[in-house]
Symmetry: C2
Subunit: 317 residues, 2 copies
């Protein structure tokens, strides 16, 4: 199958492109390299030095005989995107080409506006390009579990049946996004839902949770194929940060409030550092970005000891 | 009270500014005149020739002694907006400064993208400006009933209590917008809901239905204060179009599918043209933009006769 991977130089995109290429699909990467640019902006970098895309693609061809094409440009530039889609004629498009960091979107007004314009316009452009050029193409789009927030009812995928005042309907599941980034994904979801309804496009949205780790079967074939490992406070997932902190002996900073993350980190740390017991007490400083009470509850679950003092960080703007 | 009316040169904005000024409030209009520009783009114009804002404001002062200030600029330009808010120090902001035509947003990709960027960025800028400069200011924002679509359950304002699999929560009411314009309003709603939640802003959203008519008590004081009357197919409401068509003897074109509109039009026509009976049969051509079946049902309600042939118009892009 001819598959375009938008954002294929990024973390999820690169692993996906290699995986699909290894399966025998004809893969084309579309990327503007803006993710590499954000590293420069933030003075951060991936712990695993990633090679330029052209080198990675050449090596992949040498190792496997599989060719991955690359189109360099920005999906918010419709002229570029349309000509790329025209030339590629994809049967499926996997769309990772968005600004994907909640903290980045919350830095200030400029970053909030950039994130929403970048993500919404890129996806709108893609919807129009598919409609115009390859209407039968299947769109696979990355959303996020964070679109749903943390409702007190089971989360249903896409739609939910609601009975209200004696009548019933199946309606879009209510969203409660928690950052300007998460909001941009909700905007995308609504735009896609509309495009599918009025134009009959085919789209699948993946509202995935946290993705972590560096290795896949394909990326492990050669060190030069290695994927990103971000551990900074803007693009790094908290799991990566905690692992790095544990390894270099830095006091662990718990900055996330999700039960699942706390559990996963505890498992990882126990596995890799069996000698790290509660008698090796580190100095800890706690920062929470939402409820202090919730943080204390989750933090004490994770550490197995009470968490007394917590500093509240206002993520707003 | 010091009130800023963003989009105060437009249809709802002008009537609102005069009304509040007459009530003794200190009113400031913020407008970029882009609405007048769209008339040039579309080769359309208001049936009622509206005067330049400066003339209208001067006349209002002569007639009432009330001063309305004006700031000319675009709310998507944060530097302008922030300096205006800084200078005005409003206690309330009424935000009409958006592209408000669904058909305009559906002309093509460029108009869809423009509408969403214009509306979303303007509202984001305003939220940040209020937070930075006048955090106690009350924001009143125009949404639209069209955010809700036509669900088969009662529409609740803002939130709905949902019981699902034995648990309960009060969640944002599901939205089903029907154009790229309506989508932009849904995006705004989510952004506002978030800003209120994390920053404690105060905002009221008016999801109003069709607004029509030209005269208010204030606008009636002098012909030079008259408001817009749009009857073109992009910015004119269908009520205005039907009234104009009836008056000039042009065959009525029913292009709207809303029961309420059909009923209101029938009432208006009956009132103003008591001699217009079903024996004065016009030549009619029917165009529907969604379901032909629904159009036939509503159209026959309105006309009191079967509607046989209906042409489907694809509004998409």
């Amino acid at each position: 199958m001819k598959i375009a991977v938008l954002g294929g130089d990024g973390y999820c995109g690169w692993a996906t492109a290699l995986y699909l290429s290894a399966k025998g699909h004809s893969v084309v990467i579309v990327d503007s390299f803006v993710r590499r640019q954000w590293d420069h902006e933030l003075g951060a970098q991936t712990l695993t030095p990633i090679r330029p895309l052209s080198e990675r693609i050449n090596l992949w061809r040498e190792l496997t005989g599989n060719n991955i094409e690359a189109f360099v440009g920005d999906v918010t530039d419709y002229e570029f995107l349309a000509s790329a889609i025209q030339e590629i004629e994809p049967e499926a498009v996997i769309h990772f080409a968005e600004q994907r960091s909640a903290p980045y979107s919350m830095i200030d007004r400029r970053h909030a506006v950039f994130t929403q314009v970048n993500n919404v316009v890129g996806t709108l452009n893609l919807l129009f390009a598919i409609r115009e050029i390859v209407p039968d193409c299947h769109l696979i789009k990355l959303g996020t579990m964070g679109e749903y927030g943390t409702p007190n009812i089971d989360i249903e995928e896409g739609y939910i049946s609601i009975e209200h005042n004696g009548r019933k309907d199946r309606l879009p599941y209510p969203k409660q996004p928690g950052s300007f980034y998460h909001l941009s994904k909700v905007h995308d979801s609504y735009n896609m839902m509309f495009a599918c309804k009025v134009w009959g496009l085919r789209a699948t949205e993946l509202n995935q949770g946290v993705v972590y780790g560096t290795m896949t079967d394909e990326a492990s074939m050669d060190e030069a194929l290695i994927n990103r490992f971000d551990y900074d406070e803007i693009f790094g997932t908290v799991l990566n940060r905690l692992c790095v902190q544990a390894i270099i002996g830095h006091p662990l900073t718990i900055i996330d409030s999700a039960d699942a993350t706390a559990r996963a980190t505890a498992t990882l740390v126990a596995e890799h550092f069996p000698n790290l017991t509660t008698t090796d007490k580190p100095t800890t400083t706690f920062y929470a970005t939402d409820s202090i009470e919730k943080f204390q509850r989750l933090g004490s679950n994770f550490l197995g000891q009470p968490v007394a003092e917590v500093n509240l960080i206002d993520l707003g703007g």
